[in-house]
């Protein structure tokens, strides 16, 4: 895995709004083809900013985003075109991912035109694409507001596929949808990933969705990746207290009410470990030294007390 040059990667990436870094020295390699990678974080964790930087929509302040090992800023015209065609976003439905004035077909055709497909041949591809995501080709003449939320999300996926990418960056792709609709969109993503040999970067706050679609996962807190590893191990035996808190906070069907640490503030600390203010494992060292990612079993975690966390992280919740 480490010998292969990643298709897309964040390398020591820092993005700041004003003087506050929102993404802090993040390393995140993404490989092409049928691999799901989850990026888990709550609001304000910096996950969406990281995604926008990976998509070339934001300039990094330090570090870089690389495409096939070359910094985005240094790509030639042809390489840049290559980058645009291989990495495609799927944004959530909430923020008008489709132009409200354009018919669905025109939105998809705009993507096809970037591939040099226009005219009649494009029209038949539009139909194919719509059918591929489980929609009728006749929807091409509709405008976004005439579709349901689930249909719109499928169109967004179809548009992303139109340019035949190798990697989809999905930012909360199902969060705005009803659960039954969400389930079908997830199914679709699973199938498309396999059929098109697609890599998926799934950015979400929903652990269960990551567990279902992603082999590996990264957890972000306060702009940093605090834990990375194989999804199953990461969720069953978290090595970072935040991962553990996230997992334990998810209500399970028919289970007991999740535990909470009372009295802890939700703020991130400015010095030392950002998580220490709400961390039950925190000691003096956490205030003095910012932990860096280090190997802990199958995962890497940025925690001084990772071994203790693993021990405490009895996977009782996941017994089913």
């Amino acid at each position: 895995m480490s010998d292969e040059i990643p298709l897309l990667a964040a390398v020591g990436l820092t993005v700041a709004y004003g003087r506050t870094p929102v993404v802090h020295e993040v390393d995140l390699p993404l490989y092409a083809g049928r691999r799901g990678v989850g990026l888990i974080g709550e609001s304000g964790s910096g996950k969406t900013t990281l995604a926008r930087a990976l998509l070339g929509l934001l300039e990094p302040h330090h570090g870089e985003v690389t495409f096939r090992g070359r910094s985005l800023g240094e790509l030639s015209r042809a390489e840049r075109r290559e980058y645009r065609s291989q990495v495609q976003p799927v944004f959530q439905d909430g923020n008008e991912a489709l132009d409200p004035r354009m018919r669905v077909g025109a939105s998809i055709r705009e993507a096809l035109a970037m591939r040099g497909l226009t005219g009649r041949s494009a029209s038949s591809v539009v139909t194919d694409l719509l059918e591929d995501v489980g929609l009728s080709g006749s929807l091409a003449t509709r405008r976004p507001h005439e579709l349901s939320g689930g249909q719109r999300q499928r169109v967004v996926i179809a548009r992303a596929l139109a340019i035949q990418p190798r990697l989809l960056v999905l930012d909360e792709p199902t969060s705005a949808l009803d659960v039954t609709v969400q389930a079908r969109v997830l199914e679709l993503l699973e199938r498309l990933g396999e059929e098109h040999d697609l890599g998926l970067l799934l950015i979400t706050h929903n652990l269960a969705v990551v567990e279902r679609l992603c082999e590996t996962a990264h957890v972000m807190f306060a702009g940093r990746v605090v834990e990375s590893g194989p999804t199953r191990q990461l969720l069953s035996q978290p090595a970072h207290p935040y991962t553990k808190a996230l997992r334990d906070a998810v209500p399970t069907m028919g289970g007991a009410l999740p535990e909470v640490v009372e009295g802890a503030t939700a703020d991130a600390a400015d010095t030392g470990c950002a998580y220490r203010l709400r961390c039950p494992f925190a000691t003096k060292v956490c205030a003095l030294q910012t932990p860096v990612l280090r190997r802990v079993g199958t995962q890497s975690a940025a925690c001084h007390h990772a071994e203790q966390v693993v021990e405490a992280g009895n996977p009782g919740v996941l017994s089913s």
Binding site: R52, L55, G56, L57, R80, R81, R84, S85, V87, Q88, P89, F91, Q92, N95, E96, A97, L98, D99, P100, R101, M102, S107, E110, A111, M114, T141, R142, R143, H145, E146, V156, R159, A160, I163
Partner: protein, 292 residues
């Protein structure tokens, strides 16, 4: 139910016809405007005394009250007010149309660029805009009139020069909010060039408020043109122009009310028609209005 099925694929014509049904007031405005425009265009045929609209004067028939041969009476130099009103419509509507076209073309283009580009580009464009906004229209016209001959053309240039910054401001704020929409990001990620993103996505989605603003502004432009004419910087005698007629007639209001009243009414009705049409357009052009 039949409405819902129509809404599935709304043709442009279908939308317009639905607007007419849905918004009676806007329809009234549209009809009024069409009548006003047609009447102005047909002035040479409709005017009872076509020569009065241009150069003729009749010293013996000055200030005749409405009735008899003159439906709206005559002015100080004996010209038929109705004829001058019809000819004046041509000038006033022409000024309004050209001013708004110029102002909107420049203003919207700069606004879209400022809003989409952001950063330094936006700052520079907005500062230039502020400078123009700081000049009163009349001051700028005075300056222009010194350089150029006072005429309708000078008035048009002067008004347009002070009007466009408003459209830049309006468009820039809309465009910068549209820039953060998902569909703009999606287009950028497809590798669509900035110029195309602006033309295909940002511009069309910014236009509705501009269009509404244009129709709301039309009355104001006619009034400003009138003020310029009064100062001798706009339309010149013997050209007919509504503003000019009002300014010439207002001193006579207590004795010979018709000279000022009819052109005043014409301005009022035209401004009103543009206004209600603007409101109607705002509703009709919202793509989400016919959602269900």
């Amino acid at each position: 139910m039949s409405l819902a099925t129509v809404a599935v694929r709304p043709s442009r014509l279908g939308r317009v016809s639905r607007l007419v049904r849905a918004d009676l007031l806007a329809a009234v405005g549209a009809v009024l405007l069409v009548l006003i425009v047609l009447a102005s265009l047909a002035a040479p045929w409709l005017a009872p005394f076509p020569q009065d609209g241009t150069t003729a004067t009749h010293a013996t028939q000055s200030l005749l009250p409405p009735g008899g041969g003159h439906l709206m009476g005559t002015d100080q130099v004996g010209r038929d007010v109705l004829s001058r009103l019809l000819y004046g419509g041509r000038t006033s509507l022409f000024i309004a149309a050209v001013v708004l076209l110029l102002a909107a073309a420049v203003g919207v283009a700069l606004g879209v660029i400022a809003g989409y580009a952001g950063g330094v580009v936006r700052d520079v464009i907005m500062r230039v805009t502020d400078v123009f906004l700081a000049f009163p229209a009349l001051l700028l016209s005075l300056a222009l009139a010194v350089v150029l001959q006072p005429s309708v053309r000078t008035a048009i240039l002067a008004i347009a020069a002070t009007w466009w910054p408003w459209y830049t401001r309006l468009t820039a704020s809309i465009a910068s909010s549209i820039r953060s929409r998902g569909y703009v990001d999606a287009a950028r990620c497809l590798g669509v060039s900035p110029a195309r993103v602006m033309l295909r996505h940002v511009l069309p989605n910014s236009l509705t408020p501009v269009l509404v603003q244009l129709s709301l502004d039309a009355g104001g432009v006619i009034l400003t043109a009138a003020a310029l004419s009064y100062l001798g910087l706009g339309a010149q005698e013997p050209t007919s122009e509504w503003g000019l007629m009002v300014e010439q007639g207002q001193a006579l209001f207590t004795t010979d009310w018709w000279v000022v009243t009819f052109p005043g009414l014409a301005i009022l009705v035209t401004a009103f028609a543009f206004n209600v049409l603007g409101e109607g357009l705002r509703a009709a052009l919202d793509p989400r209005r016919n959602a269900r």
